[in-house]
């Protein structure tokens, strides 16, 4: 223990006396927090240059471009499709949007085309998504206007249909009355033939009365004949009236049927129109509303980035610091005398590890304090469990760095190896590309990547306030990595002092 403190004390004295090293140790984390805090404390995209080409500019294309400008995108109008695409290739713009000929509110058969540099994967998708949503929003706006007009027409039809239905009902009723009246006409017409036959009979009787007053009889007969003629005429007329009344009835019945059918149709239409509950155009345009709710309470990029930032700082600081420290110790002239002393190798190894750990803890403490008090990150509630994970992660990467330091002979190659391995760990993690984009086999390996594991635990703890118990499987992976790297370090150290 005494020797351990002696070695740690010596390491710190050497470190502090190298003023630049001391400055880097203390200021590097602050600098990182400051820069990252300033750079990522927002959820917007900045400095995006959008190249556009539109064969015919109109109100619609201009309004779309205005909406981009409102998002702080810089618009560069280009003269041809080719120039627009080339501007992306040359990196002058991040995305090129080509509007089709005759894009208007009435619609266009040609789509709006995006040309993005997909080699900048994260930005390309983010940008496409952003611009797509801008155009979709504009498109929805237009749809809403047009649909609203349609809905208004339907509403008006609905309003006008009810009195029309009522009119038809009234017409049906009138038709029924006509039919009824024509029946009455038919029935009201007296039976003229019976009257004629009565008069014929009366005429026969008068013929028998010729003996009496012939003149009177003749007059009577004449009168009767006249009446008979009239009646015959009347009979003809009544027959015609009856026929007309019958025809009127028939026609009115037919009209009633037609009106009834029309009424049924209008009623059905009215019912259907009444069934149309949507009265807002927005509901027709987007019947299902989508709302993306963040599962975390904060929205700035820094909040999402903070666990990854911590994991990366631990990885890079640990691996580079420990490998450099081991190499520097090996290269110092005093290394030979250290070998000569009766102090065990394990104590030297532990001394280097604790020195690196203390330096890293100082850096992390500065980082955490800055995050809590300056960036107002809500990490106080999970500070204890997060600190434990930070400690374990730091230990894992320190041992990895020490193993590299012992495995290589020159400081340059060790540093190169340390950076190479750190880069490899970063490539097989979510840092550069989502882990989901990695092929299945490598993805399986990547899941055991200590950077992925520590990042995942830190994210769960800091963003979702997960308890230590809920991250136990990942914690076990980290502990296994710790043991593996410790053994690796010990073996590598044994090799360095091998008596050739």
């Amino acid at each position: 223990m005494y020797n351990l403190l002696n070695i740690i004390g010596k390491n710190f004295k050497i470190l502090i006396r190298s003023k630049l090293s001391a400055l880097i140790i203390l200021l590097a984390p602050l600098l990182i927090v400051f820069l990252v805090g300033m750079a990522f404390n927002s959820s917007e995209l900045y400095g995006i240059n959008v190249g556009t080409y539109s064969p015919s500019e109109n109100e619609l294309t201009n309004s779309i471009l205005t909406s981009f400008e409102e998002k702080s995108f810089s618009i560069q109008k280009l003269d041809s499709e080719e120039l627009c695409i080339n501007s992306v290739k040359e990196g002058k713009t991040q995305i090129c949007i080509i509007f089709p000929e005759g894009l208007s509110i009435e619609g266009s058969t040609e789509p709006v085309t995006f040309h993005a540099d997909k080699s900048r994967v994260n930005l390309a998708y983010s940008l496409i998504n952003d611009i797509n949503s801008q155009i979709s929003s504009k498109s929805s706006e237009l749809s809403v206007t047009m649909t609203q007009a349609l809905i208004n027409v339907v509403d008006e039809a609905k309003t006008n249909l009810i009195p029309k239905t009522e009119s038809i009902s009234s017409a049906i009723s009138n038709t029924e009355t006509i039919a009824s009246k024509s029946d009455t006409i038919s029935s009201s017409i007296p039976s003229v033939s019976a009257l004629i036959s009565s008069l014929e009979e009366a005429k026969n009787i008068t013929a028998e009365l010729s003996c009496a007053n012939q003149t009177l009889v003749d007059d009577l007969e004449e009168q009767i004949n006249s009446v008979l003629t009239d009646l015959t005429n009347l009979e003809g007329s009544t027959a015609a009236i009856t026929q007309i009344a019958t025809e009127i009835k028939s026609k009115s019945t037919s009209t009633k049927t037609t009106l009834s059918n029309l009424q049924t149709g209008l009623n059905t239409l009215s019912e259907l129109l009444n069934d149309v509950k949507v009265t807002e155009a927005e509901k027709v345009v987007s019947p299902i509303k989508i709302e993306v709710q963040s599962i975390t309470s904060d929205s700035s990029n820094l909040n999402y980035l903070f666990p990854t930032l911590l994991a990366l700082i631990i990885l890079l600081a640990s691996i580079i610091l420990s490998s450099t420290m081991v190499l520097r110790e090996r290269k110092t002239k005093a290394f030979f005398r250290n070998f000569m002393t009766p102090t065990s190798d394990f104590v030297f190894l532990l001394g280097t590890y604790i020195t690196c750990l203390l330096i890293l803890l100082i850096q992390l403490a500065i980082l955490m304090l800055a995050a809590i008090f300056w960036l107002k990150m809500p990490i106080l509630s999970v500070l204890a469990s997060t600190s434990l994970i930070l400690f374990i992660s730091a230990t894992v990467f320190i041992f990895l760095g020490m193993a590299i330091g012992y495995a290589f002979k020159s400081e340059e190659t060790a540093l190169l190896a340390a950076i190479g391995i750190a880069a490899l760990l970063m490539f097989f993690s979510n840092t550069i590309l989502p882990i989901e984009t990695i092929t299945e086999k490598f993805k399986y390996i990547a899941l055991f990547n200590p950077l992925v594991v520590s990042n995942s635990i830190l994210k769960k703890m800091i963003l979702f306030k997960a308890s230590l118990g809920s991250v136990l499987p990942e914690l076990y992976i980290l502990l296994i990595a710790l043991v593996v790297f410790f053994i690796l370090t010990f073996v590598a150290r044994e090799f360095t002092k091998r008596r050739a």
């Binding site: 005494y2 020797n3 002696n6 070695i7 010596k10 004295k13 050497i14 006396r17 190298s18 110092t332 002239k333 005093a334 290394f335 030979f336 005398r337 250290n338 070998f339 000569m340 002393t341 009766p342 102090t343 008596r499 050739a500």
Partner: protein, 280 residues
Amino acid sequence: MDTELIQLKEVTKKFGKNVILDSVNLSIPENKITGIIGASGEGKTTILKLLIGFYKPTSGEVLYLRKNVFKAMKDIEKCFGFATEDGSFYNKLTVRENLFYFARLYGVKTAKIQDAVEDIINLVELPDAINTLAEDLSIGMKKRLDLACSLIHDPKILIMDEPTEDLDPLLRQQMIELIKKIKKQGTTIILTTHLLNEMDHICDKIAILFNKQIVEDGPPAKIKKKYGQTTLDGVFKKIFSQRVKERYQEKRRKGKERQEPEEKGPFPSVKELKEVLGRR
């Protein structure tokens, strides 16, 4: 009769295919100063590192008190002090901090460290530089600091690799005096140098390393007498010319046996000399 503290028995050391030492036999007596002399690159430092078990012999064995060094590592770590040619201490620590640091690593008891540091500082005559960073010391002072670091745990055996290298004549003389002083304290000293005449004055025994082998060892006076020389420099030159001649003649004889019709003079050409001397 001298007690043989350390013995090298038929020790051969190779680094890859490169033979550094070939069947070296040497014994180091207790409480004496033994000097290993030889030209630069002859393998003097290799012998020293074999003595403390830093290197493992390719063949043969190194014994400390008749025990293989690798079985006596605990004793060796406690009983040996090693002053290196370049100085083995931390440049960013002061003289005091270096001494305290190594005293603790050597297991000097805490209560005794302060006294041990003061004693050793006085012995190596560095009291004025005690709080100076090692990197700010002069070459001579660095040599003395390294010596102090090697002696802080009061070792029985002190190994010194080129202790007078890079020193001016005055400092060299001071270092020789210091070595004598240390010897008086009963410490066995093994040192290497290629400055042969220094050995004359301080060594009780010398071993001459030439062409991967110890070609001569014994008290300096006896060796000088054997070769009819007044200085070790003269002895070394004689041995060198003798060995070169022998090897040249042997080589010529072998060449003649194979074919070698052409006639040559009595002295080797530069090319032949290089071949004879091997890697040098």
